[in-house]
Structure formats: structure tokens, C-alpha cells
């Protein structure tokens, strides 16, 4: 193989690498993975999310119950119903957050083990 051909092959290889990196977005500035914050902060964020979801569900349920009570004059029954539904919703929300986190963690582990 001549020197020129080797050079051409080398350039080919580099072009292919660049193109691949470019198309898969390896070389691009990207934050799509959401890994912008460090691991500790992210864990903190997840903990905070779960805590807030629990509160928010209950608050939403209780608030709806309260409003309905005011409107219909059925104090305090709908508040109680709303509170219970709110608890259910809170559990659902927390479950969803945890599930999403689980999925994301798994995807991240897969991505790491692939590399």
C-alpha cells in the first residue's frame, strides 16, 4: 500500500469518526441527559421532589374537599373525602417519581456499562 493510500484511509477513518460523533451528538454541547448537576445535588433534588409530591397531593385533595364543602355546605365530609383522595394521589405521585427515577437510574447504568 502506498503512502498516499494510507493517508486517504486515515482521512476516511477520521471523517467517519467525526460524522458519527456529530450525528450521535457526542461532540455537541448537550444537556439532554440532565446530568448538569452533580450526583449529590441530584439525589437531594429527588428527595425533595418526593417530599413535595406527598405534601402536594394531600394539599390538593384537601383543598378540593374544602372548596366543595364551602360550595355545597357539606362541611366537613367532602374535606375528609378529599383528604383521603389526596393521600391516594400523593402515593400515586410518589410512586411515579420513584418509578421514573428507577427507569432513569437503570438507563444511566446501562449507558455506563455500555461504555
Amino acid at each position: 500500500m502506498t503512502e498516499d493510500e494510507r493517508k486517504a484511509d486515515e482521512l476516511d477513518r477520521r471523517l467517519r469518526d467525526v460524522r458519527q460523533a456529530y450525528n450521535t451528538g457526542v461532540g455537541k454541547p448537550s444537556g439532554s441527559t440532565g446530568g448538569s448537576a452533580g450526583g449529590g445535588g441530584e439525589k437531594l433534588g429527588v428527595g425533595m421532589r418526593i417530599a413535595v409530591e406527598m405534601v402536594a397531593g394531600v394539599v390538593a385533595g384537601a383543598f378540593l374537599g374544602l372548596m366543595a364543602d364551602r360550595w355545597l355546605g357539606t362541611k366537613p365530609w367532602l374535606l375528609i373525602v378529599g383528604f383521603i383522595l389526596g393521600c391516594g394521589a400523593a402515593f400515586l405521585n410518589v410512586y411515579r417519581v420513584a418509578q421514573a427515577e428507577e427507569k432513569r437510574g437503570k438507563a444511566e447504568r446501562d449507558a455506563v456499562s455500555k461504555k
Binding site: 502506498t2 498516499d4 493510500e5 486517504a8 482521512l11 476516511d12 471523517l15 467525526v18 460524522r19 456529530y22 394539599v59 384537601a62 383543598f63 374544602l66 372548596m67 364551602r70 360550595w71
Partner: protein
């Protein structure tokens, strides 16, 4: 129920549930309802301003720049690819031309050698022929001369023999002597041969 009333009573409900403890200690400024209209007003104003600036001025420009860069990078990559392919084709063509030239050269060389060899052979043959002709002629000449010499020799011998006989026996029939001498010479030649 009007939205504002819903919202107001909504605030009331949130206030009732969330920060009871905080309010007991002098109150969190966040739950001072009197500041809410002003906060929301300024929020709407400033966010609208930001949105207008972003969507009219900033984002189209950045998007344009990024797209232009992507196009440039892609076209540069394509150009590099094309140039490399062209270089490869050229190298291939060059190699082919080189091989062809080499083949042609060796063919020419062989042809020339063959022609030269043929010429040499031909000229050698011509020379040989000429020589053979010369040799043949020379041989013929030699044979002629020898024959002449021999013929001369037999007539000389007959003369000599006739004169010898004439001296010995007187007159002799010349033709008879000549025939006999010729026969003798012939036999002698045969014997020497």
C-alpha cells in the same frame, strides 16, 4: 364563581393548611396576601418582556447561527469526503496509468529486441549466403582451373610423349599417342584420386 374569588379563597385554604406555625412566629412574608397583586403584576410584565425579547430577538439569531454552523460543518465534511474520494480515484488512475506505461514500455522493449534479433539473423543469413556464393564461385573457379590445368597437363603429356616417342622410334601417329596418353593420364588421375 369568579376566578378572583376562587383564587382568593384558594389562598385562604393554602394559608390555613401550610404555614400556621410560621405565621405564629411573626409570619412569613411569603404569605402576606397584600403583596400578591403587585408580585403577580410585575411577574407578568417582566416575563412577557423576557418572552418577547427571547422569541423575537435572541432565539431566532442563535438558532440561525447554530443551523449555519451545522450546515457549514456538514458541507466541510462532505467536501473533505469528496476531496478524499477524488484523491483516491486520482491515485487509482495514476497507478493504472503507471502500470499501463510500464506494460507498454516492456512491450516496446520486447518488440525492439525481437526486431533487432530478426534483423541480425537476416543480415547474418544474407552474409552467409553471399559467402556461400563466393565460396561456390571460388570452388567452381578452382575446379575450372584445375580442369584446365589437367587438360593442359594431358595435352602437354601427349606432346611430351609424342616428342619422346618421335625421338625414340621416329615418326609416330600423333593422334594415337594423344589418345593413349589421355587414357593413361585418366587412369593415373583416377588412381591418385
Amino acid at each position: 364563581m369568579p376566578v378572583s374569588a376562587l383564587r382568593a379563597s384558594g389562598w385562604g385554604a393554602i394559608l390555613a393548611i401550610l404555614p400556621a406555625a410560621a405565621r405564629a412566629e411573626g409570619g412569613m412574608p411569603q404569605f402576606d396576601v397584600s403583596t400578591f397583586p403587585s408580585q403577580i403584576f410585575w411577574l407578568v410584565v417582566s416575563f412577557a418582556l423576557l418572552y418577547v425579547l427571547m422569541s423575537w430577538l435572541v432565539l431566532p439569531r442563535i438558532g440561525h447561527t447554530i443551523e449555519a454552523r451545522e450546515a457549514k460543518i456538514q458541507s466541510d465534511l462532505d467536501a473533505a469526503q469528496k476531496a478524499n474520494d477524488a484523491a483516491r480515484v486520482a491515485a487509482e488512475a495514476q497507478r493504472k496509468a503507471l502500470a499501463e506505461a510500464r506494460g507498454k514500455a516492456s512491450a516496446t522493449l520486447r518488440q525492439t529486441t525481437d526486431a533487432a534479433a530478426a534483423e541480425t539473423t537476416a543480415s547474418l543469413a544474407a552474409i552467409g549466403e553471399k559467402l556461400a556464393g563466393k565460396i561456390g564461385e571460388a570452388e567452381r573457379r578452382i575446379a575450372e582451373q584445375r580442369a584446365q590445368a589437367l587438360a593442359g597437363l594431358s595435352s602437354l603429356a601427349a606432346e611430351i610423349a609424342g616428342s619422346v616417342l618421335g625421338k625414340l622410334v621416329g615418326t609416330v601417329d600423333g593422334t594415337q599417342v594423344a589418345a593413349k596418353v589421355a587414357a593413361a593420364v585418366e587412369t593415373a588421375r583416377k588412381g591418385t584420386k
